[in-house]
């Protein structure tokens, strides 16, 4: 069934799967808490009612935390009351979180206690915020509302009219100019992306969700699609414990990024002298059968390797701006070297070698960024920034990238310009180029040798490494620079005096 709003997904799922488990998560070592579809729907309605009581129905609500039952309740509650959820990366520095809260015009900030630091800073830095809500605080304190208290004070049953074409989520993604852009997605964008394709996933399958929840891929595929199929969604509490949690929750399938697939491939190969079925049972359990891969390019050799162990890897392609899935491989229709068949709600064409797509999952635009929106959206078509085409049967083939964005193996997009601008502020750095090399981010720097002479800097490598170390300290893991190359000559320039990237 194709749903048009997020609210419709949870309402329909609850009708069908009511008392069945929707969410499972660890509360103590090896102790699992379960929440049914009815509980999830009712708690989300309580959260909607609480927002209405606060006078915040329809408001922009920023949300940060690791994946949790509380996060999901809040997200469904915000979108279920015609509000706009703004999921933010829990690993961002507090200053950046505050900047995004402000830029998204959020008036409420719901946060995991892990980020109490960001909440404290937001009180000072975000004048538009009217309420702070802690997901765990047992009672209201210092002007911070308690989510358990808010929920306990409300009854389930909240419902309101939701226009499928109204904005429901703003997701921030790296911009090529260095400033992150708020991708505006409507209910229809997300709900149809999650429900328009019958992937023949058996109802009530068990999944383990391991990707960050502020990513469109995780939100759409793991959560929204999962809920629409009555899936039992198990929450992985830490990337450190994926292997342990696979044994604990016994999932049938998982959504992953290539980085994880590579590590798990080594686990499989470690025991390759044993029969394949035994190895598979040891690493994933007998019940496991499918990995969905997205976020970045996956070397096809891994697909063959996992096949040996009876595990299918289905690769998809997409971007946040398309809610996010554009194409996906299915076990019964695969073309080698293609990143899958276009979603039924998506069409494609090629313009100057660049892939353009159109359909009900294409975003409304970038929040309050008309120029960037005009660059990306042309007459309803989304210019993907990827070079490629769709063949006559609708299979997508990619040949390269038009933009400078670095896409790391864990699916994070990093703008090299953002890092270049930050490091370029250092007096010692005259010219800098940031790029991806052999899976890590590398910075090549042409230092200001005159300045170095004045300051009597002897060891340039050491001095620049110090600059990088200082930058790394404040940067989230995926934006850290792991390699440094020092130049003795200036970079080659284009006629417009820009550094030649390639």
């Amino acid at each position: 069934m194709v749903c048009k709003t997020i609210r419709e997904i949870i309402v329909e799922a609850e009708k069908k799967y009511g008392d069945g488990d929707a969410i499972r998560y660890k509360i103590r070592k090896n102790e699992i808490e379960r929440k049914s579809y009815t509980q999830l729907k009712e708690d989300s309605e309580r959260f909607s009612a609480a927002l209405e009581k606060l006078g915040e129905r329809g408001s922009h609500v920023a949300l940060t935390g690791a994946t949790s039952y509380q996060w999901l309740t809040a997200y469904l509650g915000i979108t279920g009351s015609a509000g706009v959820a703004v999921p933010l990366d829990v690993s961002l520095p507090a200053e950046e979180l505050c900047e995004l809260i402000d830029r998204a015009d959020a008036t409420v900030f719901v946060y995991d206690e892990l980020r109490a630091d960001a909440a404290a800073l937001a009180k000072e830095r975000c004048p538009k915020l009217r309420y702070l809500i802690s997901m765990q605080a047992e009672e209201e304190e210092d002007g911070v509302k308690s989510m358990p208290e808010l929920l306990a004070a409300q009854q389930p049953g909240f419902s309101c009219e939701i226009n499928p074409d109204s904005l429901c989520t703003i997701m921030f993604t790296s911009g090529t100019t260095g400033k992150s852009k708020g991708v505006m997605l409507t209910h229809r964008n997300l709900a149809e992306n999650a429900t328009c394709l019958d992937m023949k996933i058996p109802e009530r399958s068990v999944t383990l969700t391991v990707l960050p929840i502020h990513h469109a891929y995780c939100l759409s595929m793991d959560i929204l699609k999962g809920l629409s199929l009555g899936t039992v969604i198990c929450i992985n509490d830490s990337l450190m414990r994926v292997a342990k949690n696979i044994k604990l929750f016994e999932p049938n399938m998982m959504l992953m990024v290539p980085l994880m697939i590579e590590t798990l491939a080594r686990k499989l190969e470690e025991a390759s002298l044993l029969p394949a079925a035994v190895v598979k049972a040891k690493v994933f359990g007998k019940q496991f059968h499918t990995i969905y891969s997205g976020g970045a390019y996956l070397n096809p050799a891994y697909i063959d390797l996992f096949e040996k162990y009876g595990i299918s890897i289905l690769q998809g392609y997409g971007m946040t701006e398309c809610s996010p899935v554009i194409s996906t491989n299915l076990s019964w229709c695969i073309k080698k070297d293609s990143v899958g068949k276009l979603m039924p709600n998506c069409e494609a064409k090629t313009v100057d070698n660049e892939l353009w797509v159109r359909g009900s999952s294409v975003m409304q635009g970038y929040y309050k960024m008309p120029e960037e929106t005009a660059e990306a959206l042309k007459d309803g078509w989304l210019a993907t920034g990827d070079l490629g085409y769709a063949d006559e049967d609708g299979y997508v083939f990619l040949t390269g990238r038009k933009k400078n964005l670095i896409i790391t193996k864990n699916g994070e997009n990093v703008s090299p310009e953002e890092l270049e601008n930050k490091l370029g502020e250092q007096r010692l750095v005259q010219e800098i180029l940031v790029r991806e090399k052999e899976g890590v981010i590398e910075a090549e720097i042409f230092p200001d040798y005159e300045y170095a002479k004045k300051k009597r800097i002897g060891d340039m490598q050491e001095a620049l490494q110090k600059v990088i170390d200082e930058y790394n300290q404040g940067a989230p893991a995926y934006k850290k620079i792991y390699r440094l190359k020092v130049r003795e000559t200036e970079f080659e320039k284009t006629p417009s005096k820009k550094i030649k990237r390639f």
Binding site: L239, V440, R483
Partner: protein, 77 residues
Amino acid sequence: MLEKLKEIIMNYVEVKEEAITPEARFMEDLGFTSFDFMSMLGEIEDEFDVEVDQQKAADIRTVGEAVEYLEQLSKEA
């Protein structure tokens, strides 16, 4: 501690044992990905029967720092 850690490290990356010195950096010198590193921490929890604090572990860059952190955890346990 270092010897046991060396064994675990070699399950994740293909490096010679001699390369695993206290000064060796996990990502830059040994070729760990961020997910390799996280998975290794999980294995360390089991092997050494300790509970690793993810935030603190994120600051570990070298093998020597990892040994130091583990020794501290073992003392607390």
